[in-house]
Symmetry: C2
Subunit: 449 residues, 2 copies
Amino acid sequence: MASEQVTERRPLSRMEDLVSLCARRGYIFPSSEIYGGINGFWDYGPLGTELKNNLKAFWWQRVVRERADVEGIDTAIIAHPRTWEASGHVEHFSDPMVDCRKCKRRFRADHTDVPCPEAPAKRQVAECELTDPRSFNLMLTTRVGASEDAASVAYLRAETCQPIFNDFKRIRESARQKIPFGIAQIGKAFRNEINPRNFTFRSREFEQAEMEFFCHPSEREHWFEHWRQQRLHFHECLGFGTDVLRTRAHDADELAHYCKNAVDVEYAFPFGWQEIEGIHDRGDWDLSRHSSFSGKDLSVTDETTKERYTPMVIETSVGVDRTTLALLANSYSEEVLANGESRVVLGLPAHVAPVKAAVLPLSKKLAEPSHALENSLRRQFNVFYDDAGNIGRRYRRQDEAGTPFCITYDFESPDDGRVTVRERDSMAQERIPIDAVVGYLRERIEAPI
Amino acid sequence: MASEQVTERRPLSRMEDLVSLCARRGYIFPSSEIYGGINGFWDYGPLGTELKNNLKAFWWQRVVRERADVEGIDTAIIAHPRTWEASGHVEHFSDPMVDCRKCKRRFRADHTDVPCPEAPAKRQVAECELTDPRSFNLMLTTRVGASEDAASVAYLRAETCQPIFNDFKRIRESARQKIPFGIAQIGKAFRNEINPRNFTFRSREFEQAEMEFFCHPSEREHWFEHWRQQRLHFHECLGFGTDVLRTRAHDADELAHYCKNAVDVEYAFPFGWQEIEGIHDRGDWDLSRHSSFSGKDLSVTDETTKERYTPMVIETSVGVDRTTLALLANSYSEEVLANGESRVVLGLPAHVAPVKAAVLPLSKKLAEPSHALENSLRRQFNVFYDDAGNIGRRYRRQDEAGTPFCITYDFESPDDGRVTVRERDSMAQERIPIDAVVGYLRERIEAPI
């Protein structure tokens, strides 16, 4: 069909287009929207939840389940507050802030090149009457316990890795692991960002997928390089090409004092190259600090050499929301077709796409056998049924939702036992036997190896 | 083998035995253990995480993916604080507390039948010098925003359902759903319990799997009964028999003022019959309150009759940690064998068991082909490899971990291409072709329908 040929393809250039699609289709939208939202917090709707869950499951599969040397855990968001003293967060996890004596607002001391909210046309914040910088801790605090007076301050975890260090000894012993091995978890973390921005990229509540790999000091370079390659390959499996994906090694003066080596995996968002994952050689900083603060010895003994040592840590830390956002940004395009029509399409890789196939009867009269097909697929795949509107409009809705396959049941289908499968990106159509649909989908939605 | 016959079977009677197994095997243990723990917070280790994740995935599959009329979402833990004013939590979500003037402790006014901590042998708390009851709000609070002075108080969600009501309109419109339909989510919730107890049963941070089903007022009884049956069947699929599972309808005086009907699904823990899920007819309370507090109209119009109405809500609310605990408690037993030995076995249903199969070479000399078998299974199943210790001891370790199948590779295997599969509960052994192992496992780990 000539009308379905693409004559022009425009990738995402303005974030607003993606934000608008995400709200319209229920991918992602502001938390508590009916109350005007709450700055830095987002809710995932049906499509966004499936996309994010598929991404997390893919990470868990690759990093935990397919490896005998990585254990997956799930720790509480609220840990003993000493955890965050040992990690250095209580003392150091802060931004320098300045207040303006005129407009009474607070800004990051290194972000004052913005217009002053009081007189936006006239001057930059830097020209306001600013106080000296003061330190502002980014951890969210709460109080836990029966009595409000005596209640202890506790922190919402600022990263998912610290509870991993807390549990290192328990996991090593109960899982009978030997060095080298890793511990991984996926979960929420919280930071009181001064200025949440760029949609879900910098938010106050976010999800991390982190893995801490414990190794002998002599092997840290080897494992750093191993994980750098593994993690880069992971992002390639998400469909990110070399034009939008790069690694960036930190310069010596960017490294945290305990950090020997760090590489960011960056994606080319419309707002610039930004980190979606960090790979860090954290040395023995964390285990040593937790040993010292807890009084529990977290060193290990080499069974062969009898050497006693504190393992070095190679960390891989994915921003789940950021990578979900990169998937959406990378797959978004507006296309002009030969017939003059246009479409918005989310070309998500099939293995992470929220809905794998839509079942579309050509007419509502075909509802019964179409529902039978839908139900036969539903137990194995996330499928969607739609009989409302003309078939072209229904295809467009699925294009926008990122559904890789549309299965059309038509008036010939009861006779020849075949349906038409239409592929989202090429819009190519193919007629296949109904009993071949499961195999057809299964083959095409498998994750790359 | 006569020695493997069970002569006596003792189910779990003391929670300590389960708590001890869970710590030893890395199922569940106190959060921040190296710092002495933090009361009411627990971490899940490798086996516990897989078990809980399998339970959540099974719920998501049954409640969301297999139903065209339920949408799954994933909202922020921190919502706009007005959410919790509308829900009534700010005003009413509190326990009456009394203080003792002597021992300075605080107790729930309805839980004073415990020994006084100051003089445990002498008197009950009720005989202490108690203050009048005062109300103590159970929500955890935090502050969000740039300035510490002007920062807004926010709450960690006390239940996962309120953000569902916040998002009702957005989801209905973007997913193009019509009444009746449901919205579901799984996630963390927080309550500052005065007295966390019974292992993970009553903790301060916990996970819920909730579904809110919106229907026309004339259909509330129908949908309540539909969901009661569906949810009961779900728990039956987890292997809970009629001896340990029951439903309990709330008496009229137990019902919340907005609640017309409520049934608890209860499990017979060693500490008594306790709720693991609640099924509630919440009426139009939540949508009406959020309409009124947000000023956004959350009513709907029937397309056929043009009637405008606020939908009624049937809620199903699973305690994920509680149900995980019930799975562990229900599957735990100590068995005495004919040869006088004994074993602890977790008879978890195979579809939720953390590890599906262990690959056990009879000798370390068989490591290479055994690893090949392990790797061929690992991409599809969560498997475990163990070549340490005699085969009997390795079986016992897997029994304790709840692994349904052990696959032993022996000195005959390279010649006849067969391995021995040993089933956990019956301890029956069967020799099958290596290339039949995938099919054998797949068939036996499927969830019941």
